[in-house]
Amino acid sequence: MRIIIIGGSFAGITAALTARKKYKEAAIILLEKEEKIGFIPGTLYSLLNGEIDSLEEGYFITVEELERLAIQVQLNATVESMDTNSQKVTYNIFHQSVTIPYDKLILATGSVQDSYQVKGMESNKIVKYKTIEKTRVALELVEKNQVFTIVGGGQIGLEMADALINQKKHVQLIESMNGLVAKYFDQEMIAPLLKEMENQGVTFYFDETVKEIEEIEETVILKTQNHVIESDCAVFALSVKPNIPYLDPKVRRHEDGSVLVDKYLKTSIENVFAIGDTIQMQSSLSNETFYISLVNNAVRTGIVVADNLVHSQTPFIGSARTIGTKVFGYYIASTGMTEAESIFFDQKIAVRHVSQPISLFNKQQTINGKLIYNAVSGKILGAQFISKTNILEKINTLSLSIQMGLTVSELAQKDYFFHPAWSTVYDITNQLGLMKD
Amino acid sequence: MTEKKYIMSIDQGTTSSRAIIYDKNGRNVGNSQKEFTQFFPNDGWVEHSANEIWNSVQSVIAGAFIESGIRPNEIAGIGITNQRETTVVWDKKTGLPIYNAIVWQSRQSSPIADQLKEEGYADFFHKKTGLIIDAYFSATKVRWILDHVEGAQERAEKGELLFGTIDTWLVWKLTDGGSHVTDYSNASRTMMFNIHDLEWDQEILDLMNIPKIMLPKPCSNSEVYGMTRSFHFYGAEVPISGMAGDQQAALFGQMAFEPGMVKNTYGTGSFIVMNTGETPTLSKNNLLTTIGYGINGKVYYAIEGSVFVTGSAIQWLRDGLEIIKNAGETEKIAMESTSDDELFVVPAFTGLGAPYWDSKARGAIFGITRGTTRADFVKATLQSIAYQVRDVIDTMKEDTGIDIPLLKVDGGAAHNDYLLQFQADILNSSVQRPRDLETTALGAAFLAGLAVGFWKDLDELKEFYEAGEAFEPSMPAEKREELYSGWKQAVAATQAFKHTSK
């Protein structure tokens, strides 16, 4: 069996490693268009915040490690086309076209930071971070400039704002919606963070959509429907898009251009699979699929796909969209649906808020939590936490609850450890289950 | 530039909204009217949708233009007159009301008013505002809304909410949030306005816990408050330049500019308003002191009394007793009566007002004989209206010490010649009925026209104003006093009767 995997980032590499264990005899070929594999897209943030010292640390695996496992890696190989009739893939390597056959094909090219709507995306004064090339340029831009405008108030936007403020830069932020990380947080939960950012000098433009980016001499000008915003540099922090220009038109896509897969991650064409940022993920909460670009999804689909290459046997459990990060001194974490988003859900929902000290002995620090659940069945649908103490791990309890279909009353009875220095009498996750309406 | 040939008056009443366009001679050249929904969420509660009112006003403005063929840019100014005391609280940012408009008759805030009375604030309010504590007035309604809409008090304190009576609401809407103003006549019906200082009374606001930041700016009755935003006025920017509560607008529309001039509107009840000049007079008989109007830097005060049952007595003849088919025929029927006015009807359906203030009294009829006819009944009922008006006017004379030689009348029953003649006889004063009975709308038009120089001054108004018909007293003094003492006796007898079934 000859397995070809296109894309050497989290999804593709995980798929290769898992397939290796499962199919001892198979030939596994990984095609990667960059000169290295396994670049971590968040490296820029970690570098700016001093968590790592050099770009070289921004890799989670090397070619050598893969080759030791007899996974063949073809670097600098840009896939140009695929033919599902003859089961062949054509790639370009150093200006030469090479066509190779496959038995199983896994599309794992991930996503690209681009916009089809904003004019002037080709400007050199836009900070991007997804590849090592872009990160290198970005570091230089950060070094040389003082005023930055971040386009997009999602997780990436917040992290970039945090890193830039730490670098003593002046930061402005433009967001189309009327709040921060609105996909993951209800605005009342995130209000303290917003306030903190304002205190630290971040200027916000909410309800504004960037239409055009223009460079005039040393200045970058961002035009929205209402404003013209000037700065030295722009930071691209909008959602990413599936990066699949080579896709055979016969492979069915969603209306948004991402690849349509069944629950075994198989596309509409036999022997072709897709994972990570190329597909819409099954939601853990309903029958819907979403486009959710998260490393955890890339990894998990990479594992599941290997199971299904020969026989469809392991369905992908879906995504609860779990995130966590620390910005401006706040740890924030979210899983499942938000209250704002619950309008798309066809059943009645209810919410609970809890605020409590971080532990029995530490009453200064508090943790704020919110739970969203089905008002009828009591099933947990979503949760959000914010605290100045690291509570990020707690979100995993909730995401597990969602995936296991736990109810509020089951959550209230969850087993947990107690230690007066490290916990409260009632763990917040239990407390969320206990609260009366 | 188009010649500005007209003034538009918007008359926003309790059951309908109207727009009337007036020409330079004060003639009605186009009008439109539209009813809107009355909500009765609970016993004794009456509410309107403030947005529906705004909608209806938009519609009648359009209707008046369409009917008359006059174009918006031919309008020199807009006058607004309105149902008074009705209370709206809305969100400053979205422009959406946070609760229905609570209408003046609505009783939901009575407990708040009762408590103020119990705590002994009657004098406190009377001295400052000229009013007797009651749920009619806006203050308790605002309090009620702030108490009953979640988070309202806090939002009001932050300046996120605005209060207004209907005049304020309409100007705010017409100017697209540009002007948040009220006029003295409306402000003086809120029970929060100090009629001496012409400012919101901080002590009252503190007592009621109503944030000043939500109140509109009080202005005179004739000045430019703002311009209509073009889309709201069909493409034209027109100054809104006159505003007054309905009763005060009627006083102005009746040209009652001098102290001692009185107008009476015969509606469902009767509203009698007397111009008392530039200093306020406080009544010893529970009549209300309000501001009549403020114009050209001067403020004219008024004293106001009301008769609870006027038109409703005639409705009772029609719907209760079923002895008449319509109100119009009462005049003819009354004339047919041959009796000697010995029958007295005291229509105290809901108690007696000024100067008796007996809420427990109920109606009575005296002097029935074998010869009493339907016509006598109708006549006596009409007379009861006139007697009650005299009761109030006598009280006004007593309170102010001003003589009243002339009563100006309007309203539905003012069409009734018999009533007006009897009114003149029993008052021993002239009764004057203007040509145009829409004095409320006309008054607002006058106020608006004067502010923008459409009319130069009051003298110019007098030039074209047609006084209409006058009814002169012709009853011998002896007979008058005999009849009136008969009425007084009938009232006394009515008050003596307090039997209630247990």
Binding site: S111, Q117, H254, D256 | S32, A62, L96
Partner: protein, 488 residues
């Protein structure tokens, strides 16, 4: 344009024959058909033969027979002739072209002529023909893509697809989970209820929109201009919020104009119910051209009928219909006509008097003046608007001047029934605008006065009033009130 404009001449004649047959009750003489369609005997024979072959696939469900003298159409009871029309359109080359462009957004001449198996020259000819049809929508096909205002492109596809999508297709293809959650979102966020028709319309609209949303270089010039007055509108803001949230769930980059497009769709394309619209009408911004026109036209109509005042219910209905028509007139260009407007007007005006026709003209004039559109050459949308105003006026006219027919049906002993019937008729004699008669079976009545407690006895939707044998003044008053309610 008309939907038949997609067809080639030959197919157009075939559809015309079928339509004629439907109109004439299924049977037309050969001669009449030939004359009405203005074709030779030979061509008619030719077309009939084509039809016979074409209809073979329906296996007898739909069949056209001809004996040389008469032509006759046979349809089985569960078969809709619409299926045949739809298939004619779907198989036409011009339709396939626009469908192809919709699906692929961009194409090269080689790709498209390969995929549709046509020559390059006929491709160019068809594109030229299509462009002349698309002109009224102010869109065109050029250089391998479709050009024009984004709103116009979606509007055009929506009109065409709406006509061509069958109910079953909606159930299967369009009511996906994603569309379902959007509908949930609309219902919850805007606090409205959407009926089955609105749901299907939303689904189709969003299917088109998602497809189009990722196209780059969209044109929004007119829409941005036209939406300026709507910036502060309550619903517009709500829709913006909802759309941004919805699209953030997918890999679709949303421009500022995207939500404008959906606001326009929602308020003009028969999506909101009357009830939902009336609630919106209370809070909507009055500073908009459409709000202005709605009020002006409504008041013009009300003034026309004075002193008769329509009921509040009728006034609301009127406001609602006008808002849909005026919104379309203000925001859109072009129209896909489903019935012949000229024919409709001609038929209407006969029964209907010139006054109301003049009134429709006046309404259109007022509307165009207010929204600053020139009235020089009347576009197809304006013609359609005129027809729609006429329809609204017909509804008002009909409701206001309706003569009520009242039946009296008393299930009593003969003598009692007789005297009570007489009393009732006598008492109702002076009420204007009603006809009273003894109830006859199989006749339609607006109101039946009866002693019969089971109203199921009467045909569906017949209003009834139940009187007791002891007929009272109370009963009479109630009946009169009922009559007044029914009249308005």
């Amino acid at each position: 344009m008309r939907i038949e404009d997609f067809l080639e001449k030959r197919e157009a004649f075939q559809v015309a024959i079928l339509k004629k047959l439907i109109l004439e009750g299924g049977r037309v003489s050969y001669e009449k058909l030939r004359k009405d369609l203005n074709i030779t005997k030979a061509s008619l024979a030719n077309y009939l033969e084509d039809i016979t072959i074409y209809l073979e696939e329906y296996q007898g469900d739909c069949q056209v027979d001809s004996d040389g003298v008469f032509v006759e159409l046979f349809l089985t009871p569960h078969f809709s002739i619409m299926t045949v029309y739809i298939n004619y359109v779907k198989r036409s080359l011009k339709y396939q072209l626009i469908d192809y462009i919709f699906n692929y957004q961009e194409f090269t001449v080689i790709e498209i002529s390969n995929d549709l198996s046509i020559s390059e020259s006929s491709l160019f000819r068809k594109i030229k023909e299509l462009n002349s049809l698309l002109k009224e929508f102010n869109i065109k096909i050029k250089n391998g893509r479709i050009y024009g205002e984004e709103l116009q492109i979606r509007y055009f596809y929506f009109q065409v697809f709406w006509f061509l999508t069958t109910y079953e297709e909606y159930q299967e293809v369009l009511l996906t989970n994603q569309n379902q959650s959007l509908i949930n979102g609309f219902e919850k966020e805007l606090d409205i209820k959407l009926n089955d028709l609105s749901r299907r319309r939303i689904s189709l609209w969003f299917m088109i929109s998602k497809k189009r949303a990722s196209v780059s270089k969209k044109a929004y010039k007119n829409i941005v201009q036209k939406m300026i007055p709507y910036k502060e509108d309550y619903l517009n803001k709500q829709v913006r919020k909802l759309i941004l949230l919805y699209f953030s769930r997918y890999s679709i980059e949303v421009e500022e104009e995207e939500s404008m497009i959906h606001f326009i769709f929602l308020t003009t394309q028969s999506v909101l119910s009357e009830k939902a619209f009336i609630e919106y009408d209370l809070v909507r911004s009055r500073r908009t051209p459409t709000a202005l026109v709605d009020t002006l036209l409504r008041e013009t109509i009300l003034l026309y009928y004075l002193p008769t005042k329509p009921s509040i219910a009728l006034e609301r209905k009127l406001t609602f219909y006008l808002s849909q028509i005026n919104g379309t007139l203000y925001f859109f260009e072009g129209a896909l006509e489903l019935k012949d407007s000229q024919e409709f007007m001609a038929k209407e005006s006969k029964t209907w008097g010139e006054n109301l026709q003049a009134l429709s003209e006046q309404l259109l004039k007022t509307a165009l003046e207010t929204i600053n559109e020139s009235n020089s050459s009347r576009s197809s949308l304006e013609k359609l608007t005129l027809v729609e105003y006429s329809t609204v006026l017909s509804i008002v006219d009909f409701t206001i001047s309706k003569e009520l027919i009242i039946g009296i049906d008393l299930d009593l002993m003969e003598m009692h029934a007789e005297i009570l019937t007489q009393t009732l008729m006598l008492n109702l004699k002076n009420v204007i605008g009603i006809t009273v008669e003894k109830y006859r079976e199989h006749h339609t009545y607006d109101l039946v006065i009866t002693t019969n407690l089971s109203s199921r006895f009467y045909t569906r939707a017949t209003e009834t009033y139940i009187v007791s044998e002891q007929f009272s003044k109370f009963d009479l008053n109630q009946i009169k009130t009922r009559i007044n309610e029914l009249k308005i």
